[in-house]
């Protein structure tokens, strides 16, 4: 190329070569004497890598230590999982060593003791679910545990008596102030019944029956709004939980379902349930028939436990085709529960237990229900309030089991120990923290744990 051509004289060519040589060996200084015909090789400092390096004595020793595999001469620190000494165990969470919740263990001797729910695969609590606030507790604790209170013993005594009697006389509602432990008590009742061999049907969130979360359809035959999906799910769960007990039970009479389907006498009840599980449209009828059949038999007592009991007496989120609000007792499943809770339908052996929940305000305890159940009798409903006669009729004969507002000191101490062993606290708990939080929460279980122990930054 023309612009690149230039005449290079011999002298400049020589200098160019010299420059090139200088450039090839970086360390060579321009003033150093250059060997003719070769670039100056400098000794490079530092570790060069490779096997055939001449190492100093210290480097050789270090290399030997590094390569030495014998355990006595390890250079690397021990991984944390292998630190077995007690000194390193302060943060490690041991499994909560608590006795199992058992029907036999629920005695006066074990008052104030914390017990863990064993939760096998087909456990009622595991399959049916738990209310949301209880779920939070169970998720955070390494083992689902609860404390045996005096009111637990009372409920267990009542259930024990109910196991021999009709459910007509054993219809209870657990009531108490916010966070006093009604849901936990109901779970204890359900677990007791399950371990004592009862048939258990547990509905942990009755609000899901009335908040329009499952489909509904009007049924002319029963004149109620059916909830097939919910019924199907309930049947599925009931079957899973009570499979062993149900296998021995058969229908004592012929069962007629709609659309011409009927099951003859002597059919195992499991087959009846399977009909409802297979076809959603049959599920509500199957559920009603199942409960009727269970109510007739006297082999095994039946427990129907419902949390958010007050939601069964409210206005629902469902609407009629004319956009009128549907009352809860016009829906099939709430109506079914109400029938058993009011005594219109009974179990030959068993009980119906409901627990009020005061957390939700949309489907909360209404003035009419409060008055009908006889809670806080000094608070009369307003004279201008139209009290639905159904509410009064459906709550006749329901006994109130009052859950105490306060935990007593021993119960609170057991609860504190459970959370302390779970290492859930900001700093390891002491007596002072326990007493301070007990005082602040006035013994209320939820306030003691959630607003007291778990939300404090005090030491």
């Amino acid at each position: 190329m023309s612009f690149l051509s230039f005449t290079v004289t011999t002298r400049s060519r020589a200098s160019l070569t010299a420059l090139r040589e200088v450039g090839s060996s970086l360390k060579a200084r321009s003033y150093a004497a250059q060997a003719k015909g070769g670039s100056v090789k400098q000794n490079v400092q530092g570790y060069k890598g490779g096997k055939n390096q001449k190492l100093t004595k210290k480097q050789q020793r270090l290399e030997a230590m590094r390569n030495n595999k014998s355990p006595g001469v390890r250079l690397r620190p021990t991984p944390p999982s292998q630190l077995k000494h007690e000194l390193f165990q302060s943060q490690r969470l041991d499994e909560l060593m608590l006795p199992d919740f058992n029907a036999e263990e629920l005695t006066e001797r074990n008052l104030g003791k914390a017990m863990a729910f064993p939760l096998p695969e087909n456990d009622a609590v595991r399959v049916f679910g738990v209310p949301r606030n209880v779920l939070l507790d169970f998720r955070i604790l390494s083992k689902a545990a609860s404390v045996v209170r005096d009111v637990t013993i009372k409920l267990v005594d009542r259930l024990q008596a109910a196991s021999q009697e009709s459910s007509q006389k054993n219809r209870f509602v657990l009531s108490g102030s916010v966070g006093s432990g009604k849901s936990f008590l109901l779970i204890q009742g359900v677990e007791y019944a399950a371990s004592a061999g009862w048939l258990v049907m547990y509905i942990p969130r009755a609000i899901n029956l009335v908040n329009s979360s499952t489909p509904y359809s009007y049924d002319l035959r029963t004149q109620t709004y059916l909830q097939p999906l919910f019924a199907q799910r309930t049947l599925q769960r009931f079957r899973t939980v009570n499979e062993n007990t149900l296998s021995s039970l058969v229908a004592e009479e012929k069962i007629d379902l709609h659309d011409g389907l009927s099951l003859s006498q002597g059919t195992p009840l499991i087959s009846l349930i399977d009909v409802g599980i297979k076809d959603q449209t049959f599920a509500p009828t199957v559920l009603a028939a199942l409960l009727e059949a269970l109510g007739k038999q006297t082999k095994v007592p039946v427990l129907l436990a419902v949390d958010d009991f007050q939601a069964l007496f409210t206005k629902t989120a469902y609407k009629t085709p004319h956009f009128q609000t549907i009352r809860a007792w016009h829906l099939s499943m709430p109506r079914l529960i109400i029938d058993y809770a009011s005594g219109r339908k009974t179990f030959a052996r068993g009980a119906v237990v409901g627990a009020l929940s005061l957390s939700d305000k949309t489907y909360g305890l209404s003035q009419e229900l409060r008055h009908a159940l006889g809670l806080q009798p000094w608070l009369q409903p307003s004279s201008y309030l139209k009290v639905a006669p159904e509410i009064t009729a459906f709550t006749k004969g329901i006994q109130i089991l009052k859950v105490p507002e306060k935990l007593n000191v021993n119960e609170a101490a057991s609860l504190f120990e459970v959370w302390n062993k779970n290492k859930s606290f900001h700093t390891p708990g002491s007596d002072e923290v326990f007493l301070a939080k007990y005082t602040e929460s006035a013994g209320n279980p939820r306030d003691f744990v959630w607003k007291g122990l778990l939300s404090t930054l005090q030491t």
């Binding site: 507002e405 000191v409 101490a413 002072e432 007493l435 301070a436 007990y438 005082t439 602040e440 929460s441 006035a442 013994g443 209320n444 306030d447 607003k451 007291g452 939300s455 404090t456 005090q458």
Partner: protein
Amino acid sequence: MFAIRRPLRLKFAINSSRTFATASTPYVPPASLEIVADAPPPQFRSRKKTKPESPSFYTSRASYYDHLYQLETALQRCRRAISTLELLPLPAFARASLPPAQLLWRNRQSMMTMFSGSLTTARYRRMISVLADLEECSRIASAAGHTALAESIQPVLELFERQDKETVLARTVRKQVPMDRYGRSYTVGKRKESAARVWMIPVREPAPVTLSSDVLPSHSPRAQDVDILAPVVDNAFAPSPSASRMPVTTTTILVNNIPLNKYFDSPADRERIVRPLKLAGVLGTFNAFVIVRGGGTTGQAGAIAHGIAQGIVAHVPEVDHILRKAKLIKRDPRMVERKKTGLAKARKRYTWVKR
């Protein structure tokens, strides 16, 4: 310095009245006068300058500097004595644990009467600082148990103390809160716009529960077999045979007849109220009934805490200094600042506009 020029009397004319023109005579140092035969007679020898008694002779406020000098000497001696006793230098923790000083010196006018002449503020302050140091030495000595030394310093200090010291000290003593016939104290707490009236009563202790025999270890030795001087401990955590289980009492706080957890939703407010009980270590000892009015939630919580702290001190005066350090005894003086004219709020200014 003491040499003065004296006219030298001529040898031949001691009583002569002859005067010479030259009055001045050669200077002869006084020491040499003794060897000079014709030294002037004693009455003409000028008086020997005697050493003044005190070095403050040449100062303008001799009396003051005398006292000061004596006090400083005393202080020096005390310090030396205390150092010998290995009490000085005192470590910080020991100094913090000394009883507080109750310094009530005479005022400047009063001290002026002790010294002839006026007393300026600077001189007064200097005197006071030396006195304070001396008082500190006395306190250290008495705290360490050397009462003799402390008592020897006291008379010196008393000279400079107020006449009505006792009366003044009596004024600072806390007024005792009277208990009613049930042993309840009634105190008032305030914070911002809230006022809380607090009644506190000690919790009645239930009878201790004695352990039943099946809980006690079966191998507990009988009384006569036990040698009390032989320390034998099988299990440090086992209940001892004579031990009885103390039931735990709890504190209940009712605010406007409502339990604490229902009246105050916020954990911070609840902690604020229980804090005085926690610091004083009296959780479970008292029950409190509170009527609170005015202000908002936090103001009411602060007022209740103040009232409870006052109530604790009424029942247990020993914890006064703990609660004082924690600033629970003092009424929090912070109040809402008023709005000022020309400002949007107490401090907030309106937006500055350049033009």
